[in-house]
């Protein structure tokens, strides 16, 4: 086990060095792979958040798009109105704040939803929350800019050149950080509690696990990851509107990525994000317009033939556990 971990860590370090230094020998701004990997990294961040609450804790959240959108809007509105007076591009203060607001929202929504209800009702509730958030931002009038959203291009500080290299690095750094957070959370006592909740909530509670606290913690940390991803994506779009940061795509694609890669595994979201985004990338290039049909078919095929994900393939032991998935 220890040796296997070492090998994985070695691979991970190699991959981090490779992707981290990619911009030095590849022009990520002009070459198409820069924007490709930027998108993959953003999806990885959102997917890791969902992995934490749903993969490790077993509570199916259908609100990731709301947190993504709230994060993007936090950044956009604070920047647009110059609230913090720190007019940098990729302002760390704003990025942290865009992780804080989804965290607060998740606690507010999570405490009542997770304490009273379990399972499907949590999924319903988060879905409802996502719809409310979307409608509130559309109806926000002067505050959110309504359906037009907020145009951020005029707010660019003078002298700053839009270069995807920055985006690439920031997204990559945050994706690695998110992965590390999930890794350390799930391999500590917290992770034991989360997995216990996933396997049997009543049993976990009777063993002295504060079920509600851990569930809300996982939900809120996952939400703030989605929020930070939203702010990074907002810096790329430079116009934050409900139709580009609050769509169903930010809800269902990360779920698909996690499940394809392997639910409740640390590297599953990376694998899934890469493969799914690759598919939609080439789908848009070669069969433009049919790409959503293609993703529908891929979702169905993956669920039919690979329900435990790619990483789950190696660990699948028939008859062991009803979930049929590796436990990371």
């Amino acid at each position: 086990m220890n040796r296997r971990k070492l090998i994985w860590a070695g691979f991970g370090a190699l991959a981090v060095v490779f992707f981290g230094t990619l911009p030095f020998y590849y022009d990520v701004h002009r070459g198409q792979w820069g924007i490709f990997f930027f998108n993959v990294f953003v999806y990885v961040i959102v997917a890791q958040g969902w992995n934490l609450i749903s993969g490790y804790t077993g509570q199916i959240s259908l609100g990731q798009n709301a947190f993504f959108g709230v994060g993007a809007y936090t950044m956009a509105l604070l920047w647009f109105n110059d609230v913090t007076k720190t007019g940098y591009y990729f302002d760390p203060v704003l990025m942290i704040l865009s992780g804080v607001t989804p965290f607060i929202l998740a606690v507010l929504v999570g405490v009542p939803l997770l304490s009273r209800l379990r399972g499907d009702y949590f999924a319903f509730g988060t879905l409802g929350m996502g719809m409310i958030v979307t409608v509130l931002f559309i109806n926000g009038g002067m505050f959110t800019g309504g359906a037009e959203g907020r145009m951020l291009v005029p707010k660019m500080p003078p002298g700053v050149v839009f270069n995807l290299r920055t985006h690439y690095w920031v997204a990559f750094l945050v994706a690695v950080l998110a992965t590390l957070v999930v890794y350390f959370m799930t391999s500590s006592r917290v992770g034991l509690a989360l997995k216990a909740i996933r396997e049997d909530e009543v049993s976990a509670a009777s063993h002295g696990v504060n079920v509600l606290r851990y569930k809300v913690l996982a939900f809120a940390v996952g939400a703030s990851m989605a929020g930070v991803a939203g702010s990074i994506y907002g810096y790329y779009l430079l116009q934050v509107t409900p139709s580009n940061v609050l769509t169903q795509n930010w809800l269902f694609y990360p779920i698909l990525m996690v499940v394809l890669g392997g639910t409740g595994t640390i590297l599953g979201p990376w694998l899934g994000a890469f493969l799914i985004y690759l598919m939609s990338w080439y789908g848009d290039q070669y069969v433009a317009g049919f790409s959503p049909i293609l993703s529908g078919i891929v979702i169905i095929l993956v669920m039919l033939f690979l329900p435990s994900g790619i990483i789950g393939l190696g660990q699948k032991v028939p008859g062991l556990g009803k979930r049929g998935r590796g436990s990371g």
Partner: protein, 293 residues
């Protein structure tokens, strides 16, 4: 006064659509524990079929109930055996949820390809026929919608109470494992309730085609509205689901009138959240069905 009555009536008529969809969802959720998020998409799909059979073959929409609903039933059986049979047996709910999502993407975009993004609606010779009484105007077609909803509720209710398969469906939604032990074929029970759920989507699709204009994006919102209706009415109760739908329709129309059309969705999803948090068994659901932690 008469405007308030008009609002209430319009709400009931809109709500009957939600009601039919919610009954279907409740059957599927009851036995398979699947959040069948593609229900709205299926409704829109059958609305387009109705539209086609009217435009291409001149078949009256209410006559096409006779073809669309059995076809929907067969589609439901096919979908179940092709997609959901294995997933329904898994404890991992993600699989069936994502299967429904995949189906939704697929059918939504097929509709977009085949029928384009232009909203469609039917113009039937009797579209304009109205009942006018005490200053209240109700179109016959919308009234027929309410009849359709009550009719389907009664049919499903009788099926559940009076037939052997229906009894098995009810047993399965109480406790799937015990049902299997008693020698009931759980796959068949799930297949039947799924197919009836889709057949109800067919009924709702015909109803939608006669009154509302629809496009390919309508499905997702509609499925969530049906979910709201279901939560309002409570699981495991046919008439509860219908009542939830009617109530939601009334609430939406009241919100549109008193707060403004842009806030309809906030009102209905807000009530959804409140019901989930404070009244998880719904207004008419059986108590104890939703266990507390």
């Amino acid at each position: 006064m008469s405007s308030l009555v008009q609002i209430l009536i319009n709400g009931l008529l809109l709500g009957s659509m939600y009601g039919i969809a919610a009954i279907g969802l409740s059957l599927i959720f009851g036995t398979m524990r699947i959040i069948f998020i593609a229900q709205g998409t299926m409704i829109v799909f059958f609305a387009y079929l109705t539209y086609w059979s009217f435009v291409k073959a001149g078949i009256d929409p209410y006559l096409s109930l006779l073809t669309v609903v059995p076809f929907a039933f067969v589609v439901g059986l096919g979908l179940f055996y092709l997609l959901f049979r294995k997933a329904a047996a898994l404890e991992d709910r993600n699989v069936s949820l994502l299967l429904a999502v995949g189906l939704m993407y697929l059918v939504d975009n097929l509709i977009l390809r085949v029928w384009s993004a232009t909203p469609r609606g039917l113009d039937i010779s009797y579209s304009g026929a109205m009942i006018v009484a005490w200053g209240i105007r109700v179109s016959w077609l919308r009234l027929a919608l309410l009849g359709l909803a009550f009719g389907s509720a009664v049919v499903v209710f009788v099926f559940l109470k009076k037939t052997r398969v229906g009894t098995a469906v009810r047993a399965a939604s109480e406790d799937m494992e015990a049902t299997t032990i008693l020698g009931i074929n759980s796959v068949w029970v799930c297949a039947i309730s799924f197919a009836i759920g889709i057949a109800l989507a067919g009924v709702a699709g015909v109803g939608m085609a006669t009154v509302y204009s629809f496009d390919y994006q309508f499905g997702f919102t509609f499925a969530i509205k049906a979910l709201v209706a279901l939560a309002l009415g409570g699981m495991g109760n046919v008439f509860g689901a219908l009542a939830g739908g009617l109530l939601l329709g009334v609430i939406e129309n009241l919100a549109a009138y008193y707060i403004g059309i842009a806030w309809i969705e906030v009102a209905s999803y807000g009530i959804f959240m409140l019901v989930l948090i404070f009244l998880p068994q719904g207004l008419f659901g059986r108590r104890g069905l939703v266990k507390k932690v």
